[in-house]
Symmetry: C2
Subunit: 198 residues, 2 copies
Amino acid sequence: MYPAIFEALVNNFRKLPGVGLKTAERYAFECLKWNQEDTDDFIKNITNAKNQLRPCVVCGNLAEHDKCDICSDGQRDQTIICVVETIKDVVAMEKTQEYHGVYHVLNGVISTSKGIMPDDLNINSLIERINEDTKEIIIATNPTVEGETTALYLSKLLEKKAVTVTRIAHGLPMGGHLDYADELTLIKAIEGRKQIGQ
Amino acid sequence: MYPAIFEALVNNFRKLPGVGLKTAERYAFECLKWNQEDTDDFIKNITNAKNQLRPCVVCGNLAEHDKCDICSDGQRDQTIICVVETIKDVVAMEKTQEYHGVYHVLNGVISTSKGIMPDDLNINSLIERINEDTKEIIIATNPTVEGETTALYLSKLLEKKAVTVTRIAHGLPMGGHLDYADELTLIKAIEGRKQIGQ
């Protein structure tokens, strides 16, 4: 229906997640409206991103050099490592501005249904980076079935290491209501209760 | 939060219609996963689309050369011109495989609220291409307020020309039901009734 060149561009856009034919066509039409400067900028950024971004050699986070900005930051507390599933989780944690340790990005979770085994994740590199200065490993995989499975696996793996292993808290989110919470969350909220006051 | 190169790519994706920050991040992450071949293909297609695609000099449709495939097609009935709002409307009509005339793409509609005046559309080029062979102009702008306004404007403009001016039919869509139709559509369906049988 469209010229072949246009169809080819539409098919490229269809490779993006959640993009069907109509959306890809909208994107391709929009692309055609961009001026030369914006188009060149887009192409330059794709090329640069592909050529210059890579996983940090220490933690797996997105990096422009061998080590990411966080691992390279002398102000960070290198003795506490927060283990997360993906790079996006690092960004989520960083937005809180409350955590000053470093990270380790597993790049997924153990999932038998998807065929993702421990060797497919950045687990060996986690074990290898633990040294005599490491004090705590926070396991911050998501509180999902696969996240919990991975957390259990990691805790067993880290048993023999001379580090404190902690798991982020599960319970009601801030602003939440008991009558809207699911049962499992409520159970976790009761189980994880902590003493207050005296 | 992310390396500057990544942020730059995210900002490029945010220029696409309907793409917010999170979606742009998803697209940028996906881009990073593409292999070199797919990335090169994407870049090549953007470049080719920008360099080689242009409005057909006759009708405004998407074209790889001066004239689009439809205007260049000797099998098409050049005496009947179907006037549409956008290139996507040409594709929609072509999918029916029932129309064998040619098109004229206005590239929008008259809209006082958006400040789009007749001079901003491909109207002069429509008038100029009418010649002694032209038999019919079908006005196929959308049955919206702006589409109707544009249709009225065009019909008045074409009054003095020796061509038949027609408007696509309004009424219930195929598969539609009277009790689900809006009042205006029903009114149009009654007004546009045609004799059947004898």
